[in-house]
Each structure stands twice: as C-alpha cells, then as structure tokens.
Symmetry: C2
Subunit: 275 residues, 2 copies
C-alpha cells in the first residue's frame, strides 16, 4: 500500500510541471505546417507559443507579436517543447544548430526517422498526417497525429499537447511512420495525379471536369466506410476487354496509356483475372 501510494505520488509529481502550467511551445520553420500549428495553438488557452524561429523572421500569423519572432537560434527562449516544422532535409541540420542540450525537441515529418534529430536532446516526433495548403483553414480536430518519443514522460507530455488540438492520437514508431508515409503517397500524391490525368483528358475534349467532382468525393467517402477491396468496380475487375480497348484508344498520351495498363493489370491480378 505504501509503495503504491509513493508510486502514485511520483507519477503525479512527474507530470505536474506539464499539467499545472501553460504549455510553452517554440515553433521553428515557416512553412504550411508551422503556420497552421501556430494558428491552432494561438487560439488555445492552455498552450503558449513563446517564440517562433525562421531564417527570414517571417510572421506565422497576422496577429503574432513582433517580439516573439527571431531569426537567431542563439536567442531561443526556454520552452517545454521545440517543434522543428522545417523541411525534411533541414531537420538534422537545425537540430545540430540548437545552442542548448537535453531539451525536448520534435520534428513534424512523416518520413524522417526520429533519430535523425541530434542525440544531445530528448527526441520525439509530432506528425500530423494530413495535406496542408497555405490558404485552407485546417480543422486539426479531425487530423490524426502520429507521435513518437524516446522517453515515456515526453510521450505523456506530447499526448497532452496533442490533445489540445485533436482526439486522434496514435503512438507510431519511426518504422511504422515510414510505412504510413508510403501509404499516404498512394492515397494522396498518386491519387491526386489520377485526378490530374482525368482533368487533362476532360480538357482535351472540352468537357468540364466538374462533372466528375461528385464521383471523386463519393469514391473517397466510400473508402472511409468500407474495405476498398469490396468497393472495386469497373472494366478491369469485370474483365471487360472491349471497354478497356476502347478506353486505350481514347488515351492518345502514352504515359496515360501506360498508367491505364499498369493499374488494369494490377486490379486483374489482385482479383484473380488475367488480361
């Protein structure tokens, strides 16, 4: 009983610095993720963005106070977490340039391993799995956050910080995050390229792409409700070689034809049919 009580007390004390006071955050970087994070934290009462660093001294938000912006890493203040929302290539370098040790630093990348960060620090990852545009308002509440931390106490803190933005919190290792990132390339980058091809085909024949928009949305919504394998339809899975041939004739662009053939073959091979 006594031991249990001591453990509870220790646990309480360990978490106390984080939970009793405002969480102090410093954001490094000036890209979309940095800006959207600043805006989200800015509106939150229990988080204070103490300072932002970027090379050009750019404001992340019109309301950001001038004295919270710095272009000099040597003037960085004290914070509970330093969020390196910089490009993948810059993560290692920026972490090496930090003029202090043993602070909790995280990056926001989907593909960079946690241990790319300088080991002088307590390291972590704070990866919002979403595509960000400059002009779009981001609703963080619906965005999954993939978290990683070297130390359990930092993970507890990171979950607390994340919970101010979103309920979708996942502990994800660097290896799993890499897998998620390649999956994200399929559902975002490659999917968007298919939309871009459809847009090109429609333009070639003076057909408004808007006719396809409801189909684009329904296709995505379906995949969030059912296993995509069960939603597969079309000439490939029907083995409808007549339609496939007619489609290939419409596509005069050889790259479009190659993509059509590769994906048709893949669908047929997955569902047990052959060209």
């Amino acid at each position: 009983m006594v031991l249990t009580e001591v453990l509870i007390l220790l646990h309480f004390l360990k978490e106390l610095p984080y939970f009793s006071a405002m969480i102090r955050v410093i954001i490094l970087g000036a890209g979309n993720v940095a800006q959207h994070l600043f805006t989200a934290f800015y509106e939150h009462k229990s988080v204070e963005v103490v300072q932002c660093y970027n090379r050009k001294g750019k404001r992340l938000h019109p309301n950001q106070k001038e004295n919270t912006i710095t272009q000099d890493l040597n003037t960085l203040k004290e914070a509970d977490v330093y969020i390196l929302a910089v490009s993948d290539d810059a993560i290692e370098e920026v972490s090496n340039l930090l003029p202090f040790n043993n602070k909790f630093i995280v990056h926001t990348s989907g593909s960079v391993p946690m241990n790319t960060l300088n080991s002088n620090h307590r390291r972590g990852v704070f990866y919002p799995l979403q595509t960000f545009s400059e002009d779009t308002v981001v609703d963080f509440a619906s965005i999954p956050f993939c978290l990683e931390a070297e130390y359990e106490e930092n993970m507890i803190f990171l979950k607390k910080l994340t919970s101010t933005l979103s309920k979708k919190i996942y502990e994800v290792s660097s290896e799993q995050r890499n897998v998620l990132h390649v999956s994200a390339v399929f559902v975002n980058n490659f999917t968007n390229h298919l939309f871009s091809i459809a847009n090109d085909i429609c333009n070639n024949y003076n057909i408004p792409f808007e006719i396809l928009r409801p189909l684009v949305l329904e296709t995505a919504q379906k995949a969030t409700k059912m296993n995509p394998d069960l939603a597969q339809t079309g000439p490939a899975i029907r083995n409808d070689s007549k339609t496939i041939k007619r489609h290939l004739k419409i596509l005069t662009d050889t790259t479009q034809q190659e993509i059509y053939k590769t994906l048709t073959k893949a669908i047929q091979s997955k569902y047990g049919k052959k060209l």
Copy 2:
C-alpha cells in the same frame, strides 16, 4: 407576328403531353442503378413508375406493388420512357426484344453508344455519373446526369424528367460520354485501387488504415476546389530520390513497386523533372 404565335402554340402543344400529366416511366433491369432510380422516382409526385421488368421478377423496393412487376417483355405497358438500366452487354439485346416500335427508350450506361439501342425506337441516354452501392442511400440531387437524345423533343422531355431528381444536367454526346467514362475509371476505379494498396500496406505492418481516412477525404475535397495540378505534392514532384528509394524498399510486392515507379515517373515527366 402571326407566325411567331403559331410557333409558340405549336411548341406549347408539343410539350403538353409531357408536362401536363404525370410522367410515366418503366424501368428495365434489377441492378443498383435500377433500384436507386426506382426509389428516387417512387418518392416523387410528378413521376409514376408504371412498371418494372426484370427476368427474375425481383422487387426493386420493399414497397413496390406486386402488379407493377413483370418478367415478360410482352406485357410491357404504355409509358413516356423506357429506361434500360441493364448491364452494358444486355442493352442491345433487350432493346431488340422490345415488342413495340417508335417508343422513347434510354439506357443508363457510361460507355455504350446511344446507337447500340435498336433503331426502331426513338433513342436516348440517361447516365447518372456516380458509383452506386446496394446498401448506400443515394442523394440524386448531387449527381450529374449526362443526357443524350436523337430528337430535340425527347431531350426536352428527358431534361424535365431528370430535373425531378437533380439540378446537374449535362447534354453529352456518345463520344464525350466515352471520354467521361475513361476519366471516371481514373478517378474512381484506379483511385480505389490505390486506396486498396494503401490498405494492404497498412495491414502488412499492423497499422490501422483509419489513420489515413482524413487524408483520403481531404485529397478528394481539394480536387473539387482547385486544379489537381496545383495540389500535387510529394517526393515525386520534389524529386526527392532518397525518400523514393526508401519507399520502394518498404514495398515488397512487385506490382506495388511497379505502380509506384510508373506514377512517380509520370508525375516527374508531367512537371518537368526526371528520375
């Protein structure tokens, strides 16, 4: 003046049979499109589904009256339009088997030319450009309808009928519809296959696919708001060969690797970069 008045009167008389009374529809077929159309018309006061034909005598809706179902084409009643919501392969055959001439008949296919229908009839196409599932409620109001008709007066009628379901009405030729259909294969069938691959990759590493759902939805929503070319991001367009190599190592399935390489190459070639 007199001529104008006569023309107006003639125009009025021509349209009168359609607009003054209930529109009488007969649906042939028992698939998803037939069922969803029946349900939509069933709830609409100005349209009466006089009869439905399918080989098995299947009800299209639990509330459908038994005496409005037939398995025998020879018992087909009089209607303003006969909608052949049958599979692509059956359209020609069913149109040949109709035991009357010179009626207005339409099919609902994206890829079959209008003139596949038997020329004894006044022909048309009534193609709802959407993916239909058996269990999902369909909101026709947001679905684009691609219409085609041999005769102007049938087109006027078809637009009137369609307007009871949707405001998104497009006059689309058989050739344009074919182009839309191949575009639909890209944004629906192929996109869904990319979702299916991402699902497989996640399953292989015991990562819940649900983490990717918000990204799936946002990717689609973005494409409905901006030109997909402007939304393109990722390692391919960044020419990030380090990440591309790492991704290809994660993909152990050769088909997945081939799709990754083909789409990466296509993105790089479209946006002026080379592997």
